[in-house]
Amino acid sequence: MTIELIIGKYNYWIYISLMMIGFYAMIAKKNLVKKLIGMNIFQTSIILFFISIGSKKGATIPIVEEGVKTIQANQYINPLPHVLMLTAIVVMVSTFGVALALLLLIYRKYHTLEEDEILNLRR
């Protein structure tokens, strides 16, 4: 366990901790909204993961200025993860939207969003 492993790869640690927080919420929280928030945190951690793997020290965002003839790859961070994550964010947002709509439906039906109460109601 070297210090490098902790410091050098801090991005991964952050992503993992975020992910675990999200999981914790999904597993332990009884409230469906909290679960949903957990899910969102979990998804965000993935975005973080992807963005961080595309980054390089000292590089800039991958937008080529007008007139530049030769592109040096090490001056730009990898554009692909960004592109992917743009799409992923869209997906996640829509998931979130659908989820909220579902919660609305659930609330109308059971008048509660606590999972154990709903389960009890259905027994």
């Binding site: 899910m39 692909l80 993860p81 829509s94 659908v98 989820a99 579902l102 659930i106 039906k109």
Partner: protein
């Protein structure tokens, strides 16, 4: 660059029509159904043309926007995609045709949105199958899932909760898959499947690749409802509206199975899956337990649809087991079962839809006299039930046959025993229902009083597709030899 536009048509047409559907719905509600059928017809036609071309000329590479891989998104269509594509589009067309009376009965005011979501769902499923890019696959996976969540939530009392449940698991599965893609990208710098196939053999020793593989294993397992990660399935499919479960049940899980084959056997080298890692072993175990579990719990169910849900879990187990055997026969069985199970499940869920349409309860105990009022419908159920049991010459037998051959080749006696035991279990399951429907007098459970047991058959628009599916179930078995030697054998990696 292919000269034919079909590969893109098959995605774009339903996608665009999904939005057109809403516009059209504002104008003329009655036209929506026709649009749906029209679009599904186009996709079916296209997939048919695609498969034909693939079979004649070899794989099609279709690059979106002209970008070269690995940067651009490429649609690669080999016989496996083509085959699954055809299955998905055909079944969705047939189910689409039957949707009208069910929609009108269950949720007429939401018909437009239903049709829209239906098309989105199909877009997602077809996209998953057709794409040659791992990330693109994720996107389509989520499109299909989101449409699925929404569709399921339309259903009866427990549906929104079941749908939410499904969504949590589905998202986790999809995210795991996405993480797997990310790790592979770290290692190889590519997202293109064909590219990865070339790159990966050199990278197998890396731990990152291993972790990626683990993420894929779990993520896809959740999506295809492999035991014990199936927990979302029974509730979601039971409470979904009948037409939705008819659509979702046969297709979603099958497409998940397709993804599993694609990733584990095609993208990664097959030996990695079977020899380097105990992945195949784990898969077999999960599948075996899943089959037993599915059968056992199906036995305990009183609700016909729920029972079918558990049967579906067992069927997924079959496919996974076939993949897990890691040999030619096993994989043949798995791929064949994707088709067969798609047909059988469509048929069975459609049967449930048809009887619900006529006001019959879904409780197995209350089906007495069904054969008198709906003889043709119940006959279809009997035949497809026999297929699930694996009675020849129905198609279910042939996939089971290949799976058993695979088990023998792999010397997996326990698996063989499980496969055979499960078909017995299925026999109990289905004959229990058949017995109630045909020999109803025996039960001393309260018999629902139906004063007139006149013939009251499901409408033709349901009945004909049901019987088309049933005939498919009966006859495709006999043509499985042709299908296998002309299509499936082309899809199996040479190392098997």
């Amino acid at each position: 660059m292919s000269h034919l536009p079909f590969p893109i048509l098959i995605i774009v047409v339903p996608l665009i029509s999904a939005f057109l559907m809403i516009l059209l719905g504002w104008l003329r509600k009655s036209l929506c159904y026709l649009l749906l059928i029209f679009v599904l017809g186009i996709t079916t036609l296209s997939s048919f043309m695609i498969l034909e071309e693939v079979l004649w000329k070899g794989s099609i590479h279709y690059r979106l926007g002209g970008w070269l891989p690995p940067w651009g998104i490429e649609y690669v269509i080999d016989p496996l995609n083509g085959f699954v594509l055809l299955i998905v589009s055909t079944i969705s067309l047939i189910i689409g045709i039957t949707s009208k009376p069910m929609v009108e009965r269950e949720f007429p005011e939401r018909a437009i949105y239903f049709y829209c979501l239906y098309l989105l769902q199909i877009t997602g499923l077809l996209g998953i199958v057709i794409t040659g890019d791992l990330f693109n696959l994720y996107v389509f996976l989520e499109i299909a899932s989101l449409a699925g969540y929404a569709l399921i939530a339309i259903g009866e009392e427990g549906a929104p909760f079941a749908s939410f449940n499904y969504m949590i698991y589905g998202t986790i599965g999809a995210c795991f898959y996405l993480l797997g893609v990310g790790y592979l990208y770290i290692e190889s710098g590519s997202l293109n499947m064909a590219d990865l196939t070339k790159l990966l053999p050199g990278l197998l020793s890396s731990k990152v690749t291993l972790i990626a593989f683990a993420f894929f294993s779990v993520g896809i397992a959740i999506k295809m409802a492999l035991f014990p990660l199936h927990v979302w399935l029974p509730d979601a499919y039971t409470y979904a509206p009948s037409t939705v479960s008819t659509l979702v049940a046969p297709l979603t899980t099958k497409v998940g199975a397709y993804v599993m084959i694609r990733v584990m056997v095609n993208v990664f080298p097959p030996t990695f899956f079977t020899e380097t890692l105990p992945a195949a072993l784990l898969l077999r175990w999960m599948a075996g337990l899943g089959i037993l579990f599915g059968c056992l719990f199906a036995l305990a169910q009183k609700d016909l649809k729920r029972m079918l849900g558990y049967v579906l879990i067992a069927e997924i187990g079959y496919i996974a087991m076939g993949i897990g055997f890691g040999n030619r026969n096993g994989l043949t069985g798995a791929i064949l079962h994707i088709m067969n199970d798609g047909l059988m499940m469509a048929c069975l869920f459609l049967f449930v839809g048809a009887i619900t349409l006529k006001g019959w309860p879904r409780k197995i105990d209350q089906l007495q006299g069904l054969h008198q009022t709906m003889p043709l419908t119940s006959a279809a159920f009997v035949l497809s039930g026999l297929s699930v049991i694996g009675v020849p010459p129905t198609c279910g037998f042939f996939s089971k046959w290949y799976l058993v051959l695979g088990a023998i080749d792999a010397k997996q006696w326990l698996s063989a025993a499980i496969l055979l035991a499960s078909s017995l279990c299925n026999a109990i399951l289905f004959f229990r229902v058949i017995e109630k429907a045909y020999f109803g007098k025996a039960g001393n459970e309260q018999r629902i009083e139906r004063p007139i047991l006149k013939r009251d058959e499901a409408p033709l628009i349901v009945l004909i597709p049901l019987w088309v599916l049933t005939l498919g179930v009966i006859s495709l078995g006999l043509f499985s030899g042709t299908i296998i030697s002309n299509i499936i054998h082309l899809t199996i990696p040479a190392s098997f």
